[in-house]
């Protein structure tokens, strides 16, 4: 028999544990209080979420959830005090930690791991939900895409009646969720001039969700996201309510587009590059429209957004710069590569491959990434991380001369090597997997160039 502990006492205890973790430097301590609370009393999370006067908004996707949530936070922060898991701790424990820390918050804003979504939705009972995309990602951890999609379908069916849903219509699996609820906002891109010439190798949902025949794509934008139609049964992209048109990609600096919504139209200029960020902006706009935001607030918020940590992040290191783009799965890494090459292919790159649970223990995904556009421009690749040799092989068999590859498993040694190869005032491109990104930020942080993420995220 366990003795019931008051919620206040549980929270106080959990908070103290988080401070200890930070003091001990074992991590950001961002999930320690939540993990403890989760152990002590799983139902406490439900009660904490229920205390938020305006309820919660939840974002999930394989790619872009951290950025989408950060954009939504820019839109909403003028009006509401937010409880936002901005450091990317997106499992149930991370959300619990955010709730513990959010003393006077009015509205919860949570990015949620794809696999954790059903549990989070049932506990947090959100007012608004935005679902972005499903790509193959860490099959050793998430299992097959179809399985994740099936769990999402059940979770959406179980949402409270008043929850407002927004989905990406350009993703066949996600767009089909709109059928589950009337009044769903469906967002997508409508600009064939920004489309790719063909479906990428990493396109996943290429076959009709209804009948299994291959889709015809009128336009494919990012992976399998696009304007699709099944030639056999006619299943096609649902009508869009929130749309990006007239997209202009401006290298590494920005991307602009015309945002068309039920409450008006406006040109938006994003200060981060890439078509994938247009999708993130559409997701943030749709979610916040469902929360009652005005178009001018949405545009101002999206335009004031810079970068979520580690995702297209620029860090000064003495007289040189780092440009860090997280890579974690084929679709996301393809967009990172595409963005970098469009900004001018680099001569030197540091690519870091770790295989901890958060990175995916199965590193086979690097062979599904189209790294080839980087290869002609590279004079030197610094392969690093726990699986540096595997990454080096990916480039060797992709056509890069093995003599142009340094294999340095130590992240610190690889960073120094990359900086040494970068001319003064130059910028070094770094593509790390998740745990390598955290470790690299810590290394530059220890040299005094960047604040730890649990401070900068606050």
């Amino acid at each position: 028999m366990s003795v019931p502990i008051p919620l206040v006492a549980e929270i106080a205890f959990a908070r103290a544990a988080g401070r200890l973790s930070r003091l001990a430097r074992t991590g950001g301590g961002t999930t320690v209080p939540g993990k403890l609370l989760w152990k002590l009393d799983p139902g406490a999370i439900d009660r904490l979420a229920a205390r938020l006067p305006l309820g919660s908004a939840v974002i999930s996707a394989t790619n872009g959830k951290t950025t989408t949530a950060a954009m939504a936070a820019e839109i909403l922060r003028e009006r509401f005090r937010l409880a936002h898991n901005s450091s990317g701790a997106n499992l149930v424990s991370g959300i619990a930690s955010t709730l513990i820390d959010a003393r006077a918050a009015e509205l919860g804003l949570f990015e949620v791991d794809e696999a954790a979504l059903p549990e989070v939705l049932s506990r947090v009972k959100p007012k608004a939900v935005c679902l972005g995309n499903l790509f193959r990602d860490q099959l050793d951890r998430y299992g097959e895409l179809e399985h994740v999609a099936e769990r999402w379908r059940s979770a959406v069916r179980a949402l409270p009646g008043d929850a407002a849903l927004a989905v990406n219509g350009d993703d066949p699996q996600v767009g089909a969720l709109a059928q589950e609820r009337p009044n769903t906002l469906v967002f997508g891109v409508d600009d064939p001039s920004a489309a790719r010439p063909s479906l990428q190798h990493a396109a996943d949902s290429k076959y009709c969700v209804r009948c299994g025949a291959p889709y015809d794509y009128h336009a494919a934008y990012v992976g399998h996201l696009g304007d699709y139609r099944c030639p056999a049964c006619g299943h096609s992209r649902p009508p869009l309510n929130v749309v990006a048109r007239e997209i202009e990609l401006n290298g590494l600096e920005s991307v602009s587009f015309r945002l068309v919504t039920p409450s008006g139209t406006s040109v938006v200029r994003l200060h981060v590059p890439g078509l994938y960020n247009v999708y993130n902006a559409l997701a943030a706009a749709s979610l916040t429209l469902n929360l009652g935001a005005q178009l001018d607030e949405i545009v101002a918020g999206i335009e004031s957004f810079n970068a979520a940590f580690g995702r297209f992040e620029r860090i000064r290191v003495g007289d040189r710069g780092l440009l860090m783009l997280l890579i974690k799965n084929p679709a996301g890494a393809n967009e990172a590569v595409r963005t970098i090459v469009e900004g001018g292919a680099p001569a030197v790159a540091v690519i870091a491959l770790n295989d901890a649970i958060a990175d995916g223990r199965d590193v086979s995904w690097i062979w599904d990434v189209d790294f080839e556009p980087l290869i002609p421009g590279l004079t030197r690749l610094v392969a690093t991380g726990d699986r540096a040799a595997e990454l080096a092989l990916r480039f060797k068999y992709g056509g890069l001369d093995a003599r142009a590859i340094d294999v340095l498993p130590s992240l610190e040694a690889a960073l120094d090597r990359g900086l040494e190869l970068t001319p003064p005032r130059g910028e070094l491109v770094v593509l790390p997997t998740y745990t390598a990104m955290l470790a690299l930020r810590r290394i530059v942080g220890d040299r005094g160039f960047v604040r730890p993420y649990w401070e900068s995220a606050a």
């Binding site: 179809e146 190798h201 223990r361 199965d362 690097i366 699986r387 595997e390 990916r394 060797k396 068999y397």
Partner: protein, 250 residues
């Protein structure tokens, strides 16, 4: 010399970076002055027995696997004829299962296989996921190791007397119990190991190339050694992973 690879269902069965295996075969052939052509053979395409020196079948998700299973049955006689005539085969994960006799999923429904390999597969409740280390003896007296990653719900049970690809040193293998992994029938190999398999196990890539050349030209040539330092390092790291965190350690 020319080598023709038939890549079965590359648009459906590609979940575990199967194109990495193809890239390794192509480059290692080219570095020795051989020309490797890869022909895609997918749903609805004709299969002409004898046309290919090496057949490759990759892994797919359950949905894609079901989409190709019926088509493969229509090609069964041709594939069997090719294998009997000495074409080499590498079948990985889902492709490996489809080349057995049958696959029964969790709901009890059966997906037909084409019986190149003498086994049946039945899906279990839990997936077997992790790094794997095998010991193989494809040539008598020559023991070598393979490393890879497995992720499968299927339990594959070889017929009595069937030849496995290797002995499990660390990992689950065919069924998590028998201690065997994969299956071999002559020049045809099937395995659950992806990673992809060939970049970190270049000796197996060379073995397959030699078998394919033997199919076309009558006798397996001696392939000159290549500088495999990166491959050796990747193999060592992967083997260590299997030893420290593979599914089932012996």
């Amino acid at each position: 010399m020319k080598i023709v690879v038939g890549h079965l269902y590359p648009d459906y069965l590609n979940i575990y970076a199967d194109r990495g295996n193809i890239a390794v075969l192509s480059r290692r052939a080219a570095w020795r002055g051989h020309e490797l052509e890869v022909h895609s053979v997918s749903v609805g395409d004709p299969f002409r027995p004898g046309e290919h020196d090496l057949l490759y079948v990759g892994g797919g998700q359950d949905r894609e696997q079901a989409l190709v299973a019926q088509d493969l049955v229509a090609k069964a006689a041709g594939v069997q004829e090719s294998v009997a005539a000495g074409a080499a085969v590498l079948a990985v994960c889902g492709g490996y299962q489809l080349l057995g006799r049958s696959y029964r999923d969790l709901h009890g429904s059966d997906l037909p296989g084409i019986g190149v390999f003498p086994f049946d597969t039945v899906a279990g409740e839990t997936r077997m996921i992790g790094d794997v280390l095998l010991e193989c003896e494809l040539e008598p007296g020559l023991r070598r190791t393979l490393t890879g990653f497995e992720n499968h719900a299927g339990r594959t049970r070889l017929d009595p007397g069937a030849q496995p690809l290797g002995r499990v040193v660390a990992g689950f293998g065919n069924d998590g119990e028998s201690g065997w992994e994969g299956c071999r029938v002559g020049r045809a190999l099937g395995t659950y190991l992806h990673g992809p398999l060939l970049p970190r196990n270049p000796w197996l890539a060379d073995w397959l190339l030699a078998q394919a050349l033997a199919h076309r030209h009558g006798e397996a040539p001696e392939l000159e050694p290549l500088a495999d330092e990166l491959e050796t390092e990747a193999h060592a790291v992967s083997a260590k992973r299997a030893e420290t965190r593979g599914g089932r350690r012996r």
